[in-house]
Amino acid sequence: MQAFETFEHTADIGLIARGRTLEELFANAARGLVDLMVDPAGLREEIQMQVTVSAGDREALLVGWLNELLYLLDIRRFLPRRSRITDLSDTTLTAELVGDTVDPGRHAVRRMIKAATYHGLSLGEANGLWEARIILDL
């Protein structure tokens, strides 16, 4: 299983995330998002935090989760190297994040992502494998 990959979109970029469980899919979507912005190999595991996100349904929760990470990047310059989903329902998730403060002097910055969008959003399971497709606004 490839944890995440990107797909083509003219103006923006598409992200496919996979997981054997829904929790793993959410964690892999976060990895994919971070990987698009910086080289994750340069991120230290020195800051821990916990976040809780709520939304109207499971797809919106995925969008809300990624947008929460972009919010944390803006206000704390934080990006997670790892995330673990500790609690998940269709409308709420709690995650533990371990990561680093982004420093353009120390990290290989790739690009900035403005937001995760609902356009063409899908999230489903087939043969025991969860997969989500999401378009990110650059």
Binding site: T6, E8, H9, T10, A11, D12, I13, M37, V38, A55, G56, E59, A60, G64, N67, L70, Y71, L73, D74, I75, R77, V102, D103, P104, H107, A108, V109, R110, R111, M112, K114, A115, T117, Y118, H119, G120, L121, I135, D137, L138
Partner: protein, 485 residues
């Protein structure tokens, strides 16, 4: 007509209709302004589908419109325009976009390129240093909780009052740099906190700050009115928006709209188009919050303008007043505005959504600044960093057909990965330097995604827009130095 363009009905050389029968739920037809080569490119992705989707929105007037630079966006196409009736129409945060009041501002100097060339590298370094850009960049300002509310209420006027700029600047900004009716109290806590240290930052992606020279003047009378006098004159162009604050306002209100859809009986083909009635409490709240975020963007470009002036002063050892650096104009290209337009022979207020489209009011329109009354206000259409940008003016045709809307840029041609693939192993900084264009970029990786090869030739967009009669070309500007996030 060729096989590929059969979904479209060609009305003339520059107008292509998407019939309202194209897709269930369309309330009006779609109308794409483009010539045949551009239409072929437009048909390659999902942009046409997105125009058709925009035509399903409640209260949409006359048609859903696409500019020649249209391309596949998320929800609403980039280069899309739709006007809604105020009584039964909707407002859609997704049809404005995440970067509320992303826009362009042009400054004109009294310098020539020969005068600037010897110090161009120093000037580029100074601008790169003075205007924070890129991922993780710290802003130079840290607003207090009280100050940010003032920024959101007063926009560029706040910045000028605080010493960032000249009082004469405000008259050269769309809506004088302050959206009336902005409601900072409708902006959520998260959005406010994202804005606290982002005022005066360029951002990343396709945002830029460019030192340019006038390459050619096409309409001397309009150019003179705009302060563009001769080829070789140095100008400065910036492209940026409301940063994380605006993105968060969009995120928050998309969620509000998404939750409200069933209550208002609205069914949509794409969740990203989530919308609420303009006349509803949620609609009024979004309009107030969007106006506040737009004011943040006007203040952002104003603060950056001040730092641009300081950078020129420091490098060239002359006062900014002597150098000029007067604002030619500042236009928004992601915005919804309530404006009066002629609908079925009557002037009525409508809510015009422009996402990747520029307002282009012609001569004589009351919202055009006094000094531009005879020619119309400038429309700024940036191209890519290796080619050129345009200054245009809007026309009565745009007023009559597109709710006074005009194109906003080149429009992407290749996806980012395709552009990178194409340019593998090419040192873009070096290639551009050999063509006389200096580049300062926070991320080299990003640079390839923003190369000329990733974009349509903006000259083709302008040709189609002028050909359709929406605009008239005034001048073309060439980059000398480019600052990228």
């Amino acid at each position: 007509m060729s096989q590929e363009t059969q979904v479209l009905v060609q009305r003339d050389a520059y107008r292509w209709e998407i019939p309202a029968t194209y897709k269930p739920g369309m309330r009006v037809p779609g109308l794409i302004y483009a010539d045949e080569p551009l239409v072929r490119q437009i048909l390659e992705d999902q942009a046409v589908e997105q125009v058709a989707n925009a035509a399903t929105l409640p209260g949409v007037v006359r048609w859903a419109i696409a500019m020649p630079d249209i391309h596949w966006g998320y929800g609403f196409p980039i280069g899309g325009v739709a006007a809604m009736r105020l009584d039964d129409g909707v407002i859609s945060p997704g049809a404005v976009g995440y970067d509320i009041n992303c826009g362009v501002r042009l400054l004109a100097t009294r310098l020539t390129d020969e005068e600037v060339r010897p110090r161009l590298a120093m000037l580029a370094d100074r601008l790169f240093q003075n205007v924070p850009s890129g991922v993780g960049a710290h802003g130079r300002l840290r607003l207090t909780d009280a100050e940010i509310l003032e920024v959101l209420r007063h926009g560029a006027a706040w910045a000028v009052r605080r010493g960032y700029g000249r009082s004469s600047d405000l008259g050269r900004i769309e809506s004088a740099g302050t959206i009336p009716g902005a409601q900072p109290d409708q902006v959520g806590r998260k959005a406010l906190s994202r804005g606290l240290d982002q005022l005066g930052t360029l951002g990343s992606g396709n945002h830029f700050l460019e030192i340019q020279r006038v390459e050619a003047i096409h309409d001397p009378r309009a150019a003179r009115a705009f302060g563009l006098h001769h080829p070789g004159q140095v100008t400065v162009l910036m492209h940026c928006g409301s940063r994380g604050l605006g993105h968060q306002v969009c995120t928050d209100y998309l969620e509000v709209a998404g939750r409200s859809l069933s209550r208002y009986g609205i069914a949509l083909p794409d969740r990203q188009l989530a919308c609420v009635p303009i006349a509803s409490p949620e609609g009024r709240a979004y309009l107030g919050a969007m106006g506040a975020a737009a004011n943040f963007a006007f203040a952002n470009r104003q603060v950056i303008t001040h730092w641009v002036r300081e950078s020129f002063e420091e490098t060239l050892r002359q006062s900014a007043e002597a150098i000029g650096l007067d604002i030619v104009y500042d236009v928004a290209h992601n915005m919804a505005k309530i404006e009066e337009h002629a609908v079925e022979g009557r002037q009525v207020p409508v809510c015009v959504h422009r996402k990747g489209a520029t307002r282009g009011f012609p001569a004589g329109h009351p919202d055009v600044p006094a000094e531009y009354q005879e020619v119309g206000h400038p429309v700024l259409v940036p191209g890519d960093m290796g080619r050129y940008s345009y200054v245009l003016v809007g026309t009565p045709v745009a007023m009559a057909e597109t709710f006074g809307s005009t194109p906003h840029g080149a429009g992407r041609l290749r996806s980012r990965s395709a552009a990178k693939q194409l340019l593998r192993g090419v040192d873009l900084v070096d290639v551009l330097a050999r063509r006389g264009i200096l580049v300062r970029a926070a991320s080299r990786e990003l640079l390839a995604e923003e190369a000329s090869e990733a974009y349509k030739d903006v000259a083709e967009v302008v040709r189609a827009s002028d050909g359709a009669g929406l605009t008239r070309t005034v001048a073309r500007l060439q980059p000398l130095a480019v600052i990228k996030g």
